[in-house]
């Protein structure tokens, strides 16, 4: 009741919605942990999968996901940011750039399986990369790229015009303006967007399954050319099994995946905080 008096009816509804989201998130974690408890032990994060649920772990899948996160970001971030800078700062405003922009915006909505098929044809078969970690990473980079571009471009566009004009007025070159004024101002927005794009890509199983993720890998991948394995595909392989114990393993792998994604978000948050602090 205090809530209603303080925030009014609409404010209260919004507060309840926020509360529901929090409760849903906590429930998700609690259910997963409860589900995972019977089979998850100390070795779960390093052990290889096994046909005996008690021995199985997510070691290879976790290592695969970390590899993929690194490679995907290493490819998609510079490419996406570069494209966004070009479109916003260098490209002339013609019908062609307009068409390119709307094409990119549309690509951001293409279902992930479609990227899997493209990745299979282009990276796995075309470049001869096979069903490897790089092939999967390049596919996920392609999946994340449109979102990275769209978000970065809109963050760059949102930088106040006065900032540019003033910097130019003081004699800064175009690149100096971009490097020292626009990018720092746009960085928080760019980071938020990239973080969303990458965490979504990390959670994808479908495109990796299309490329041919291995169902059973006995070792943690140590190089980009090693067979493709990841937490989402491991979760898929385990949930498809009919034995109960493997559902528990899948729940454990879900928790591991959530932790990885949360860690990625936290890193982005920390970086963003530092960037903001630097400006003040």
């Amino acid at each position: 009741m205090g809530l209603l008096r303080r925030h009014g009816p609409i404010g209260t509804a919004c507060a309840l919605a926020a509360g529901a989201v929090l409760v849903a998130f906590l429930l998700l974690i609690i259910v997963l942990l409860a589900e995972a408890r019977p089979v998850v032990d100390a070795g779960f994060l390093v052990d290889a999968p096994s046909r005996f649920a008690a021995r199985a772990g997510v070691g290879p899948a976790l290592a695969g996901t970390l590899w993929i996160a690194f490679l995907t970001a290493a490819v998609a971030f510079p490419t996406g940011l570069g494209t966004a800078i070009f479109l916003e700062e260098y490209a002339p405003r013609t019908r062609l750039t307009g068409a390119i922009e709307s094409a990119i915006a549309n690509l951001a909505g293409v279902p992930s399986v479609v990227y899997g098929v493209v990745g299979l044809a282009l990276f796995a078969r075309g470049l001869g990369l096979g069903a490897s970690i790089v092939a999967g990473s390049l596919t996920l980079a392609a999946l994340a790229l449109p979102t990275v571009i769209v978000v970065s471009a809109s963050a760059i566009r949102a930088v106040p015009k006065g900032l540019r004009v003033a910097a130019h007025g003081l004699g800064a070159t175009k690149w100096q303006v971009i490097r020292h004024q626009i990018l720092p101002a746009a960085a928080p927005g760019v980071l938020t967007g990239c973080c969303l794009a990458f965490t979504r890509a990390m959670g994808e199983a479908a495109p990796l399954l299309v490329i041919g993720a291995a169902a059973f890998v006995t070792f943690a991948p140590g190089a980009p050319g090693d067979p493709l394995t990841s937490l989402p595909t491991q979760i898929f392989a385990w949930t498809a099994r009919s034995q109960e114990d493997f559902s528990a393993l899948a729940a454990g792998a879900c928790v591991a995946l959530l932790v990885v994604l949360l860690a990625m978000n936290l890193v982005a948050l920390a970086v963003r905080h530092r960037l903001r602090g630097g400006k003040r």
């Binding site: 290889a48 096994s50 046909r51 470049l127 001869g128 990369l129 096979g130 069903a131 490897s132 790089v134 041919g212 993720a213 291995a214 169902a215 059973f216 890998v217 006995t218 070792f219 140590g222 190089a223 980009p224 050319g225 090693d226 067979p227 394995t229 498809a240 099994r241 009919s242 034995q243």
Partner: protein, 313 residues
């Protein structure tokens, strides 16, 4: 394939990266050597068990197992992408031609025997045996059987939900060949997947469902499925280990193979893995849901491998 992390790798272009990492098929077979097995989902449970045992015994080697179906695995095998293909049927002449084209010389090694198991929901007790003719009527291309009553007038008029292996599966090829007389002849208006677990789940979740797959797909879900016997004219026979062993569950009994490249056998890790596959199959086949082959067959398989290792044709 041996891959050594290389500090200068990052600077290389994409194509060079691809070459640097993948341009060395085979490798020396030393520590860290990788064996990739792909193919039949009917053999997946066995391959998985063998891979696990193998890495327990040889921790220096690494194994990855995929299942893209017998057809998918054999194609990758002929293209030289993988060392070992698991197949629930022998190679077709088209596949053999492809292997000849790419210069892929191989040995085919029988490792276990399994039956194609026809399953229904456990609550569906109205039917316990199907004749081969009924199977044909149910699964033929363009079949008009949609309810159990269409199949046999005494059965309820409930819609049959059908689950079966996908077209890349050797089980699909084998089933259509022996039941319909022509590989690939099947109705297509049903749920198809290369993943046996999904077939088991589908049938276990639908009271009036029917599905078929290799017996290893059935083993982990035996509590949730009901197996139908098959009548080929000599009475109803179920896919029991005895029936699989003596061939009375005919014609739905078949041998399962691994295909090993002759050049790959020259590498220690592939040779050891293939040998291990044979001996582990002899020990584990019945535990995982297959039937073992006669001991003489396994002895012959070992000789085939040893011969290939020495370069005998």
């Amino acid at each position: 394939m041996t891959i050594r992390p290389n500090a200068g790798m990052k600077r290389l272009g994409l194509a060079a990266l691809a070459f640097g990492l993948f341009g060395c098929p085979g490798g020396a077979g030393g520590p860290g050597a990788l064996v990739v097995v792909d193919g039949s989902s009917s053999l997946y449970a066995l391959s998985e068990a063998v891979a696990e045992e193998f890495t327990d015994e040889f921790p220096q080697y690494r194994v990855a197992v995929r299942f893209s179906g017998s057809g998918g695995g054999l194609r990758r095998f002929c293209d030289g992408e993988i060392d070992i293909a698991a197949a629930s049927r022998t190679m077709t002449s088209a596949e053999a031609a492809r292997c000849r084209e790419t210069g892929r010389d191989y040995v085919a090694i029988p490792v276990a025997r399994d039956g194609i198991v026809i399953v229904t929901h456990p609550a569906n007790t109205a039917v316990s045996c199907l004749s081969l003719a009924e199977l044909r009527q149910l699964w033929r291309p363009g079949s008009e059987v949609t309810t159990w009553r269409d199949l046999r007038p005494a059965l309820p008029a409930e819609r049959i939900r059908l689950f079966g292996p996908g077209t890349a599966s050797g089980t699909y090829d084998y089933f259509t060949t022996v039941v319909m007389g022509r590989p690939g002849a099947s109705r297509a208006d049903h749920y198809q997947t290369e993943d046996d677990h999904l077939i088991a789940r589908g049938v276990a979740g639908n009271r009036w469902a029917l599905g078929y797959f290799g017996s290893a797909g059935y083993a982990p879900s035996r509590d949730r499925l009901r197996v139908l016997a098959i009548d080929t004219g000599f009475g109803c026979v179920g896919p029991t280990p005895t029936a699989l062993g003596d061939g009375s569950y005919s014609p739905l009994t078949r041998d399962l193979y691994i295909y090993v490249g002759r050049k790959s056998v020259l590498q220690d890790h592939v040779y050891n893995f293939a040998l291990h596959y044979v001996s582990a199959s002899e020990r584990l086949a019945s535990e995982i849901g297959y039937a073992s082959l006669p001991a003489a067959e396994y002895a012959r398989s070992r000789m085939l491998l040893a011969g290939a290792r020495r370069g005998y044709p």
